[in-house]
């Protein structure tokens, strides 16, 4: 058998538990795959809060992205004659100090909160995986330097770095995604690194190295697929953290400038009026943040259980 093919076979067999069985019986492999997926799915579904979390997230996504198509509001032009109106038939959640419809604003604000949350978390996941696998696989001096840098970055509160970045630039959605993503990968990098340290000593990784696979190939086809579980869990938690960070930043006046808005920005604006009894400016956005963040956290928790079950099975 040519060396290349041998390497391919090793990679196919060892991609984890979703791959076909080694003895070449495709049906057996299929059975194993479906059983494994079902087990993972069952573990996830057994965790009822996580299921509720998924429902809440799906609802929030529909609310923010499909809602504006059904509930039309003007979120561009201000309407000062209608400012600070209490909830009524024409404005279901009242209006804010600029006369924007609060329910429509909640949808718009949710869009940017979730866009930033998800995009920053994905970016953090990619960065953390790349950093962690590189440090863990190469080891030695490179590992030392890379991980000391992670330690140092971890010593500075994320909010502080974000404040510094936001103060010297004009915050925009893409910039915030990059900024939040570039400081949220540290935990992922640590976890991925420690898993890589275990993975790289396993036989199939050594086998791949022996048959002459390049470092990049070994990492991409043997290490990365096997740390994906941990990374997905971390990404879920990162979405929650990023939404909170964005809210904190917006409260401190360094979020995306108007007319753009997000839930944190709405809160900080509404808080100026909180003491005057305008509850609709303070509670809906806050509750929306809490619901979505709690949901991502419980989903993350449950996914972690799934991943841990997977590890035990291995």
């Amino acid at each position: 058998m040519p060396i290349l093919e041998c390497g391919t076979e090793v990679s196919a067999v060892t991609r984890g538990w979703f791959t076909r069985a080694r003895d070449g019986d495709p049906l057996k492999g299929e059975r194993r795959k479906s059983a494994g997926t079902r087990a993972a799915f069952t573990t996830f579904v057994e965790n009822r809060p996580a299921v509720v979390g998924v429902v809440v997230v799906v609802f929030a996504v529909l609310f923010c992205f499909v809602g504006p198509l059904i509930y039309h509001t003007n979120q561009v032009a201000t309407n000062l004659t209608d400012a600070l109106a209490a909830p009524s038939g024409s404005h279901l959640l009242g209006t804010d100090s600029s006369g924007y419809d609060e329910l429509g604003r909640l949808m718009l604000g949710g869009q940017s909160a979730m866009e930033v949350g998800v995009a920053a978390a994905l970016l953090a996941g990619i960065l953390g995986t790349a950093w962690g696998t590189t440090a863990g696989y190469l080891g030695g001096f490179v590992d030392d330097v890379m991980m000391r840098l992670v330690d140092a970055l971890m010593a500075i509160p994320a909010l502080i770095i974000l404040l510094i970045v936001a103060s010297v630039t004009t915050p925009s959605i893409p910039l915030l995604i990059i900024a939040i993503g570039s400081i949220s990968w540290l935990n992922t990098a640590r976890l991925v690194r420690s898993e890589t340290l275990t993975l790289r000593t396993l036989e199939y990784v050594e086998a791949s190295r022996v048959v002459g696979s390049r470092t990049r190939r070994v990492v991409m086809s043997h290490i990365v697929p096997n740390v994906m579980g941990t990374v997905v869990v971390q990404i879920t938690f990162s979405v929650a953290d990023s939404i909170l960070l964005l809210a904190g930043l917006s409260y401190l006046g360094l979020g995306p400038p108007p007319p753009a808005t997000n839930w944190g920005g709405m809160l900080s604006q509404g808080l100026n009026y909180a003491y005057d009894g305008y509850w609709w400016l303070v509670y809906p956005a806050g509750i929306a943040i809490v619901l979505v963040v709690v949901s991502f956290n419980v989903i993350g928790d449950s996914l972690r259980d799934v991943v841990e079950v997977r590890f035990q099975k291995k």
Binding site: A155, I156, P157, I161, Y251, L271
Partner: protein
């Protein structure tokens, strides 16, 4: 590590566009004035040369001069650091006093109603924007019920802050709630792990009372990982403290930093970051020492 921390912040500050000159001199300053400011403060030199000079100054105890406050950074830190330390210190101490027994009891009664209620509450507290929690507390306890003043104690010295304990309650409570949510979660999982250990079974077999097993065997062993976790989470707690200080107008480091950020006061930003870096390193060191004290098996 502290050096790496300062280097990172230094690079962020100096490589990103926008500088202190425009921020301080205002948009009407002429190009010549801006240039003179830049030269006078050495901002035209290469970044690493500037950083080297900064490091040399630090070793001489000179953290720079605040443009905005017209005071040395050291003086500002001396004035504000103890006040923030009080806020964070009390909050962490209270959070530990609440979270450790709470997590232990949750572990003992895990998956029962009480555990679910506390877990839900902790998760909600953990997922809540800190500033929003602070404002809800102000709304309820300061505006509706009028129990406490809505603002943190004001004053230059630590004594002045401590002399108004009533005003200190809401800021401390906000930070305590957020921190408790975090710690009780750690403690619950740590205690659950300790409960299934062999020494617990042995103690049970020997007829030790359940209460004694819980508080002597399980508690002490499950606190060990918490010590490290508290050390690791110090930066996060400081971040939360910053928000609390802004919400309650608490005259500490966080408020100082926030004001410095809005006016591009670089020396104060750098000084604050340095202090946080040192605090984190010291926090981790303290955690290591405490770990050795709590666990006689650990020897350094």
């Amino acid at each position: 590590m502290v050096i790496v921390v300062t280097l990172i912040v230094f690079l962020i500050l100096h490589l990103l566009p926008g500088g202190p000159a425009r921020a301080l001199l205002g948009p009407r300053a002429s190009a010549a004035q801006v240039h003179a400011f830049i030269v006078a403060n050495g901002y035209n030199r290469p970044v690493f040369v500037q950083y080297w000079h900064y490091l040399v100054r630090i070793t001489q105890g000179n953290l720079g001069f605040s443009y905005h406050y017209n005071e040395t950074v050291i003086a500002l830190l001396k004035q504000n650091l103890p006040k923030s330390a009080i806020l964070v210190g009390i909050a962490i101490a209270l959070a530990l006093c609440i979270a450790l027994p709470l997590g232990l009891l949750q572990a003992q009664h895990r998956n029962r109603v009480g555990d679910h209620v506390v877990t839900t509450a902790a998760l909600t507290g953990y997922s809540m924007p800190t500033f929003w929690l602070g404002l809800i507390l102000i709304q309820v306890f300061a505006i509706s019920l009028r129990f406490f003043p809505p603002e943190a104690p004001q004053g230059v010295t630590v004594g002045a802050i401590l002399s108004q304990p009533k005003a200190l309650i809401l800021p401390v409570a906000t930070l305590t709630i957020v921190t408790t949510a975090l710690f009780s979660r750690f403690m619950r999982s740590s205690a659950i792990e300790a409960l299934v250990q062999d020494y617990v079974r042995t103690a049970r077999a020997e007829g030790v009372s359940p209460r004694r097993i819980l508080w002597e065997h399980v508690f002490r062993n499950s606190v060990l990982p918490i010590i490290t976790l508290v050390g690791i989470n110090i930066p996060g707690i400081i971040g939360g403290a910053l928000l609390v200080e802004v919400v309650f107008n608490f005259p500490g480091m966080g408020l100082l930093f926030w004001n410095a950020v809005t006016v591009h006061d670089y020396p104060v930003i750098m000084g604050f970051t340095l202090v946080i870096g040192v605090a984190t390193v010291l926090g981790n060191l303290l955690a290591d020492i405490l770990y050795a004290v709590a666990d006689p098996r650990v020897r350094y």
